[in-house]
């Protein structure tokens, strides 16, 4: 990604199992494809059995492929895009922490 271009971003919403190692499966998948994760938010849900992850990623043609690869991971239960969240969702979150 050229630093001078203002990238369009997407928010990917993952429902995942909550146990040690899940995060490394997901971040590893991005790293192996030289694809940067701009932001990650992860919270446990369903009484700690599952987690919800929001990933902020730059929009590229590779995104569809990445989503399909994410969906293949055994610990990933659901993948969807969150177009309902405002583009500055993470930016505002960043200011509050």
């Amino acid at each position: 990604m050229n630093a001078s271009t203002i990238a369009q971003t997407h928010i990917i919403d993952l429902r995942v199992r909550n146990h040690p190692g899940v995060m490394s499966h997901i971040t590893g998948l991005f790293a192996r494809r030289a694809f940067n994760l701009e932001a990650i938010l992860c919270v446990p849900v369903s009484g700690n059995d599952e987690s919800r992850m929001l990933l902020l990623v730059n929009d590229t043609p590779k995104l569809e492929q990445i989503e399909r690869q994410l969906a293949k991971l055994h610990d990933v239960l659901a993948v969807r895009q969150r177009t309902d969240l405002p583009p500055d969702y993470f930016e505002r979150l960043g200011k509050s922490i």
């Binding site: 190692g21 499966h25 399909r68 293949k72």
Partner: protein
Amino acid sequence: MKPKTPLTTMTKKKYTGATLLTALLERQGIRQMPGIPGGAILPFYDALHTSPIQHILARHEQGAGFIAQGMARVTGRAAACVATSGPGATNLITAIADARLDSIPLVAITGQVAQSLIGTDAFQEVDFYGLTVPITKHNYLVRDVRELLHIVPEAFTLAESGRPGPVVIDIPKDVQIAAIELSDDELPAPGGCRPTPPAKDAEIDALARMLAKAQRPVLYLGGGIIAANASALAHELAKRLDAPAVSTLNALGAIPADSPHNMGMLGMHGTRATHTLLDECDLIIAIGARFDDRATGKVAEFCPRAAIAHIDIDRAEFGKIKRPHLSIEADAAEVLQRLLAHPLLHAEPGTPRASGWLARATALRDAHPLRHPSRETAPLHPVNICRFLAETLPSDAIIATDVGQHQMWVAQAYPFRSPRTLLTSGGLGTMGFGLPNAIGAAFAAPGKRIACVSGDGSLLMNIQELATLADHELSVAVLVFNNAHLGLVRQQQELFYGRRYEASRFETTPDFAALARAFGIRGHSIAANSADPLGDIAAALAQPGPCLIDIPIIATENVLPMVPPGAANNQSIEHAGAM
């Protein structure tokens, strides 16, 4: 009527993690399991002592991993292998990565240091979970003995379902020792291949319409056609369409070599005939193929005139390299069965377009055979050896290869007649693959003749498994195409690096026949000046039991045709002197 005795008993049985794992593997149908013991996996080995599972002691964990792969490649079912923590586990990595790239179902079980020691840099501790994240379909670090109850069957289910692949179960020593009481009905059902949802009717319709309309269709078969046990159906489709079929390395054998529809291998070492057909075709039906660069050459120039229909069990393959016009995510056998029953594919056979197209394919194939000297003048030319082996070995023999020139000669020249008769490392290209895979095949297919065609460079990478071969006196013949070089490296240096031969020639070449004898099996050296070297090979093969046959080949012989890496397939170098 007598009252039935209840099938399950509520009496609790005592297990340790190790005996539970053994029981679960037995229920999975594991009968033989290669591996090497060590401290962190010894409780499990202790449990194996009273188990009907036959442990096969390899001489290197990579050998154990590839022996298991050989079993899985021959049967299509997940095989298991075992190693201890630390170096035992890391030695398995190449076999696991190889299984990942070729979609081979494999369950690798490793010992791990006790949980109290994890993260302390304990003796023989390595983060095997972390190491295997990128090379497995899924992996587990077992944290409690109870978890084995769902992890073991789930591991086999994952390995065999959808696109097959390797799964790792890393088990800390304390989990293997932990005691648990279970009643029989608490033991889970064994895992196995889960059916894939069927294709939609509309998709089958759309595919049938595409095929009915195409003037010049080509089937492009990948390893998935073998994994799906759909080879016969693919052959039937080729016949129905009067279409030629090209195969990737891992699909060889799907269409019998002597079928008029078989065009052999495409890609880097495919013939001019396959490249031309793919340039001319107007529809390519890719089945279980992933458009690997070794097959496609420069992607932008692959099948430039063709619409693409892509059938694959893995949705992530669609559009990864080439955007298909139609993609169907389903089991290939199911799609082909329904397609063959479709009314549009029952139109009158022998329409002018169809027969003309297959005739074109046949003419191309006849016009571009492999160029090689005759058997009379050069019996030990590798192409002649491969063809001679095909005449000499039983027709259902299984051929394992290593990686290098010999592998490509086998792929080009050995007439594979049925699926699962070629075991070869396609995606990862692993030297050292052949011998242990051949051993695994011999265990999985008793009674069959197994040949491992290797090179002098490849064989040395797992030569210690000759001892495993000797242990079990398996019917494996190892044929060494010996040119005292890393042949494919030498060839690339000749063709693309200005003949600067750096590190591709071996200063010292061992006496392979003597090595074989040192390991306890028959060793033969074929003399380059023998009056009948092929007869010498046949005589060596005729004796029962394992053997090694060292065959001298000319060091400067190249595998041709060859597409330069990164070039379009139609840029292939056809023969020596064409540069």
